[in-house]
Structures are given as C-alpha cells and as structure tokens.
Symmetry: C2
Subunit: 355 residues, 2 copies
Amino acid sequence: MRGISRLARELKLSSGTISRALNNKSGVNPETRRKVLAAAERLGYEPNQAARTLASGRTGSIGFMIDLDRDSVSNGDSFFMGVFDGVQTELALHDLDLLVLPCPSRQDKFAYLDKMISRQQVDGMILSEIESDDARIDYLKEAGVPFVTLGRTTSNQHYSWVDLDFEGVAQVAVDRLVSLGHRRIAITVPFGKVNFGRVFKTAFAERLAFHGLEFDSQLVFQTGIGEEDGYHLVDPMIDRPDPPTAVLLIFDATAIGIYRRLSERDLAPGTDFSVIGLRDEASVRYLRPGLTSFDVSLHDVGRELARALLPQVSGGAPAMVDLIQVKVPMELKARQSDCPVASRAIRDPLLLNGG
Amino acid sequence: MRGISRLARELKLSSGTISRALNNKSGVNPETRRKVLAAAERLGYEPNQAARTLASGRTGSIGFMIDLDRDSVSNGDSFFMGVFDGVQTELALHDLDLLVLPCPSRQDKFAYLDKMISRQQVDGMILSEIESDDARIDYLKEAGVPFVTLGRTTSNQHYSWVDLDFEGVAQVAVDRLVSLGHRRIAITVPFGKVNFGRVFKTAFAERLAFHGLEFDSQLVFQTGIGEEDGYHLVDPMIDRPDPPTAVLLIFDATAIGIYRRLSERDLAPGTDFSVIGLRDEASVRYLRPGLTSFDVSLHDVGRELARALLPQVSGGAPAMVDLIQVKVPMELKARQSDCPVASRAIRDPLLLNGG
DNA sequence: CTGAAAGCGCTTACAG
DNA sequence: CTGAAAGCGCTTACAG
C-alpha cells in the first residue's frame, strides 16, 4: 500500500479527500486539510507524477527546447543558464517545473519536438533558436499546445514571443555613431538559419533611414561567434574602396579578433575604428579599450518567457488568450571602443583615455 | 476513443496485442506486428508517456541535473551542450530520452533532487558539479536510484563516475614543465564546493613528488573562472619572495587576464613565465602566444556517462551492477605559452616565434 | 499467438 | 465537507 492510499488508511479518510486536501481544492475542512498535510510531511509523501498526469491531463512541467547542433548554437551555456533561472523563478510561483529538452545535433528539430508533444511530456513549450520561417510554430499552433518563443520569425506574427530589443539597440547604437560623425556603418549578422540577424539588420536599416542615411548591403557581413571570425572580418571591411568607419557586432566575442587584426593593420579600435557590441559577454568584459556594448538581464528574459506562457497554460484555450510579444530592453554600456569618426591623422588623445 | 484503444478498434485486435507489438515483445505474429506498426504510423499514434510510466514503472527518461547557481557554475563556454549531445547519442540506442533538470539558483540542490526522485520523473540520474562530500550521492544510493556522476567526491568510492583525467593532465603538464627546468610551479583551483580542484591539486602534488619536488601549498591559488580573476592572480604570484616560474590553470579563460597583467608588469607569457591550461576553451583559442592546454572530447564524456549508467537502468538491481569509474583522457595541445625556465636576461628569440 | 482483465496511483464529477 | 466509484491509457501476468 503506497502513495495516497497509504495516507488514506493511516488517516481513515478516502483517497479523494486526501487528493483534494493536498491539491488545495476548495471544500475541504481546514482541520482535515491540516491533518493530511501533516501526515504527508511526516511520511514523506510525494505524489506520483505519472498518475497525476494520467488522471488530470496536466504534467506540471514546461519544456524548454534547445538545439545542441553546434552550427546553430549561437549562445554558450551561460546564456541559457541565466534564462532558465529566470523561467524557473516565475514557474515556481505556479507550481510548475522546467524540463530542458536538448535536441541532439543529429536529430531533426521538428521530429524531436513532435515526439515530445505527442507523448504529452509537457503542458507548454518554450522554443529557442527560432528560424526565419520556423515550422515548429505552425505545428504547435495547430496542435493547440501552449508555447512561447525566445526570438521571432520573419513571417508569422500570431504567436507570443520574447526577444531582445534589437530595435532599441539599433536605434541607440546608430544614433550614437551618427552623432559621432559616422556615415558608413557596417553590421555583422550570424550564419545559419536563426532569424535574429535579420531582425537586427532590419532595425539597423530603418534607423539609418531615419537619419537619411543609405543602407548599403555591402556593409553587411556574416560571421560566426568566435574570435577568429572577428579576425577575418577586418580585412574585407577596411580594404573596401569606401570602407566603413564603424561596425555593429552581433557577437561580442568577435571583438577580440577584430581588435587583434586591427592592431596588426596598425589601426586602433576606439581611435581609428569604432566598434559597438550587442550583448555584454563575460569573455570580453576585460578587453582594452573597453567594448561599448549593451547589457540585458537574462533573468528578466526568462521571467518574461514564463509570464508570456502562463496565461495559455493555466487559462482557457490558447486561442482565447491575448498574444504577448515582449522586447526585453538592453542598456547601453558606453566604454571606449567607439569614438568620433576621424582620419588617422587626427587623433584626439582624450578619447584614448576613455573620455 | 483514443490512443491504443483506437488502434485496437481499427485493427480488431486487443489492446494487449497492440501494446506487445508496439514494444517489440516476443510472442507476436510477425504479420500482426507489421499491421500494427503500419496502422500506428498511418494514424500518427504516439504512446502516452504518463500511462506507460504508471503501468510499467519506467519513465523512459534519464535526468541530468545541473546547477544554475552562478557561484558554483564552473564551466562557461558550451561545456554542457557538448556533454548532453554525447549522452543523447548513447541513450538513443536504448530508446531513452534525456531530460535536463536545472536546479534554480535559489533552491537547495538536495531538496530539488529529492523532489524529482520522489515524484519518479526519471529512471536514472546524472549528477554534475559534484562537491567533495556530496550528500546527493548517499541519497541516491539509499534510494536505489540508478545514477552516475560527472566528477567525483573525495570520500565516497562506491558509485559510478566519469571525470576528466586530472591525473593524466597533472602528469603530462608537470613532466613537461620539469623537463623545461621548472622547479617552482603554481597551480590554481576553483573557489566553492566543487571537488575537481582538490582532485587536480592532489594529482599535481603526487606528480611533483614523483620528480622529488616539494609541494608548496603557498603556490596553490584559488580563482574564479573569468579573465579578471586571472588578472588578479599575477601579482600575488610573482611578488612572492620565491616566485613560481610557471602556473597550471584550472580555467583557461583566466589566461587572458594573466597575459594582460604579465605584460603590464613587463613580463611576457611563454618567455618570462610559463602558463599551461587545463581545457581548451573556444574563448582563448586565439590568444597570443597560443596557450598550451589540453583537449577533451565532451561528446566522449557524455557517452561515457550514459554507458556507465545504462547497465544500472536496464540491468538488475543497481547494487548488482559493477561500478564503472572512467577518466576521460585529455590530449596535450602544445603551443607557445610554456618555455624553458629563464631569467629575464636570457631570452631565446626562437621561443618568441612559437618554436 | 491472442484476449480478457487487473492494476499502476492519482483526479474528479457525482451523491449524500 | 466526505466517500464511493469511474476513469485516465497504458502494461502484463494469466488463460486459453
């Protein structure tokens, strides 16, 4: 005799009453509830999750799908760790657990998701590494499964998502560079199918237009996430007939390689060439000159994800719930890697000291 | 009518036969099995995991617990991603799924584990970030839950674990430095409760003894994982009355700060001071001079974890299964950050060029 | 080789 | 407020 029936025998109550007491249902004598909770505590009772799920149709878990494929991995562990923690903070308030579902690199993402959903392993899903046209979104909508995405597609607007505020970043960064006299600004975007590069590029182009500047697709450079990728960006940029005077990075770690190649070319970042990063990563926090970049609370990103999902999970049918689309703001961290546009002849010594 | 009973009606078979066919049990007419599988495919049948678990007592899932507490997070980079992928590769062969269980930073690790186990969410557990005396291990042994750890405790020997081959690293690194003339070698170990620093230190001390060198506890330095931690290591090391001439790192990213502080002190890594890393991280791969370090296949680490766990899960009682304790070998990647011990007066120009 | 039936441990209308 | 009972969708001895 185990589980609820053990408690029932012990307390001379029916298992129904035990269940109602344990689950905080209304219509239970307070004294009875107290006794049940005390006995559960004393006997170390924990409900069997499988039985609960089978009976109620709810798993009590939210899935967070990540992609282990290195080619599409654009964020290291620490990015997701911060987000997970934020998600948990919010889910815990609703007695929901987070299960991270890592899609193996060799497996098709769609098939993996399909399996998890069909088996009914979770009550809702958080998707990451969203592609420009991501079939998973239509699938989940079709299946009526509550979900929210970390990132947005280009096409589909009718779903809830949370994303970094690329528009805000583009605005602040472009405004800043333009006010420093820059007119030709390069931008880097990721390889692969993930969509945020396109989002960033679009926002960037729009802000250029705001300033009456032309968007030059020649100044868009694809890059990987590593230092060496940054290293190889420099020559194609500065050897152009009409080179840019500044660059916006999509991956901060590329700054290390950019700095190195610039110095090999006898150019100094923050003096001869301006560099602005997108997301303050620990790995470049001690670069000199300090990289002007943007800071975001990963914990907040996680919380927003959970908040966008919860109404779908606990409320009515997903279709009845308002769409929630959130851009998590990013805060400029001005350092010394950007400067007034200047020919190499005119260096302002003040800027070298991080003015 | 859904699930198996739908198939049963469709095929005019009992649900028992459907179940046996689907699960590849013996004693099913091959023709019947073929029909069942075809119908399942056609109707898009996927078994309800909760019902399966409740009936069979098996979840078909393995949990991998990670700690989101930033203080004990000791692997930046994409350490876990690589490991997860390796685990999945092996689990997939046995029709097992991997669920990553992230313990929120504010929650007690033990309580979190207890909850997951009590609810019977997984058939087996992989634990990471093992502490010197980790209560979770005794708990899982007691509970009879199959498990394996990524890392080892100091105390308890009677469980299966997989770890990096710190002994091998210490041996190769010490041998190398000693042959280059070094006699005073520093070592860095992590802050916090995780145990691998102690493992590394012990192996290091033993290899020194092998060479008849004394282990000087003054040359053991605690460090965090970041560049700035490395930066702050340098002064306390080189300002000693009897300073070391080389250091073994526990976190490669600290090398960036070490390089920077050395150069501020007018010392060159790989010339005036030798540095050897532990695990080749992407973030320092383009440091100059190149960091001599060790390479490990994270995929192999994951596979070994799964292999150590599987006999417990599918075989008999955990107690009946042989212990598996694996050190995953690490391969030296010799670069230019270590060199013959030399006073600053005697620099060999060849070494500067990475000889 | 197949079917009928019990049972896994819960939840939840339905009576009382 | 509590109990008796059905049922969630499977698996698995047990008969035949």
